[in-house]
């Protein structure tokens, strides 16, 4: 059975290769910083589960020490000029798009099938992690097709991947680190404290006020935590269930659905949701790290106002 661990080993091997290739990149003035950073990440993926919590904590601090103090650099960018790439692209035509589209296709088909295929009495892939496994399978298949099309050795793909990884730099671990911070917040009771403040200090005596505080609270709390999933239990336990549902007789399904979507309005405006907001800005080589957030703010604000009106109009009626 293919499990999440196998995919971690694959990722560990990839980051290990990035580490070696980074160290060899003489055009990068800080090549040893990059090498150490990717090597630590490789260790995390390969041996993280054997290391123990404290050692993993030390590993995280070491990653932050490297990434947070400018120890990472960049080598020379793309070796081929845009004109040269355009010429190659013209010769290759639309076949070039095939591997790129193969990834989502296999990821989707695999998500619905891999968990059900039986091999020797066990499912081919761990049904609990089938989406991630299907994504990895899609990526590997696309890579094989792309290598065959380009008649390139696997090392060439690793070199190009390393170039992209060096471009992304420390931002590459930001989403994972923020997810880890969420767990520390939960341990420290940050959510409970926010819910306590919201219910103690805000006027909630009117059905509309309860809806307003719940929706805006979901958005604000999500902005802070970077994740609507962290905000939902806190706000719903503090305001949603006791006030909207129990005191004012609102419908719990409508409250839950629109409440979560109000949280998503918060996700659109926060750098804490790094994988949605910061990583795209880095990937698209935007000099302003908040450029994606800036174009999302108007949509988020208008939609949040709509959600408040929508919930107030529906939740007490059905």
């Amino acid at each position: 059975m293919i499990g999440l661990h196998d995919v971690y080993v694959l990722a560990g091997a990839m980051f290990g290769a990035f580490a070696l290739l980074s160290v060899r990149d003489r055009s990068n003035p800080r090549r040893f910083g990059n090498g150490a950073f990717w090597a630590l990440l490789a260790v995390s993926f390969l041996f993280g589960s054997q290391l123990g919590d404290t050692a993993n904590g030390v590993l995280v601090v070491a990653l932050i020490a490297l990434g947070g103090t400018g120890a990472l650099g960049r080598g020379t960018a793309e070796r081929r000029s845009a004109e040269e790439r355009a010429q190659r692209a013209a010769r290759r035509g639309n076949a070039l798009l095939v591997p790129a589209l193969l990834i989502p296709l296999i990821a989707v088909v695999g998500t619905f099938t891999l968990g059900h295929i039986q091999v020797g009495g066990a499912p081919l892939a761990d049904p609990n992690n089938v989406t991630l496994i299907a994504l990895a399978v899609g990526i590997v298949a696309a890579l094989l097709v792309a290598l065959w099309q380009a008649k390139a050795p696997p090392a060439a793909a690793l070199e190009e991947g390393r170039r992209l990884a060096d471009m992304i730099g420390w931002a590459l671990i930001l989403p994972q680190l923020l997810a880890a911070l969420g767990a520390v917040f939960a341990l420290a009771g940050v959510g409970g404290a926010v819910g306590h403040l919201a219910t103690t200090w805000l006027p909630l005596g009117h059905p509309f006020a309860a809806v307003l505080v719940y929706c805006v609270g979901m958005a604000l709390f999500t902005t802070v935590m970077g994740n609507a999933f962290a905000a939902f239990p806190v706000m719903t336990a503090a305001v949603g269930v006791p006030l909207i549902v129990q005191r004012f007789g609102g419908d719990p399904a409508i409250m839950g659905a629109i409440g979560m979507l109000s949280g998503f309005c918060g996700t659109l405006v926060t750098p804490m949701a790094a994988n949605f907001n910061i990583v795209p800005a880095v990937l698209l080589e935007l000099p302003d790290r908040n450029a994606v957030i800036k174009v999302q703010v108007p949509t988020a604000l208008v939609l949040l106002a709509c959600n408040v009106v929508l919930m107030y109009g529906l939740v007490y009626r059905f």
């Binding site: 990440l41 692209a89 190009e160 999933f229 994988n275």
Partner: protein, 227 residues
Amino acid sequence: MNLWPLLAIAVLVVGFAAGLNPLLVILVTAFTAGLAAGIAPLRVLAALGHAFNATRYVSLIWLILPVIGLLEHEGLRERARTLIGRLRAATAGRIILGYLALRQLTAALGLTSLGGPAQMVRPIVAPMAEGAAESRFGRLSERMRYLVRAYAASADNVGAFFGEDIFIAISSILLIKGFLAQSGYDIAPFRLSMWAIPTALLAFLIHGVRLWRLDAKLKRLARGEHP
């Protein structure tokens, strides 16, 4: 109620607002939260390590880097650009609007993995939108180029966020169901999905109108006017 852990939020907001390196801000924030809650420093370190190890799946998307890097080296982005440059009706706004519709519809069917910044936006959608803008306005100023790219990324987010909750088996719907069940309300996922539809339509309308107006905005920028 111990309110001191809220100090961590203040650290986080000030750190991000001051433009400090986010990794350092997160480290200080984690220790602030832990220490304020009376947790020993070594236990905070272990908790952070445990959580980082348990959330490694978040970083698995980077497995895509070698194949995307290779395809880009072979000219994938240039191909996407020329492909769209040939279509006269294509404008940056309309292409991104089309992607928004596609992303939201597929997410509503549970196919959230069809899009994403590394899979679709950087290699395909952004170059197509830039290509369309180039064939209309000629050379793009940096400001125009960055604006088109940022809107392409925004469509990916808006489409995914406000499409996925229409699908009954998505994690957020299951979280809502699970939490409400704990509170004593047993709700069919179908009802949660149904009530996600009004917001989904409004999200498409609001972001769609803004994308519709993107072309006019680019036109003003191309003429050198300030929008």
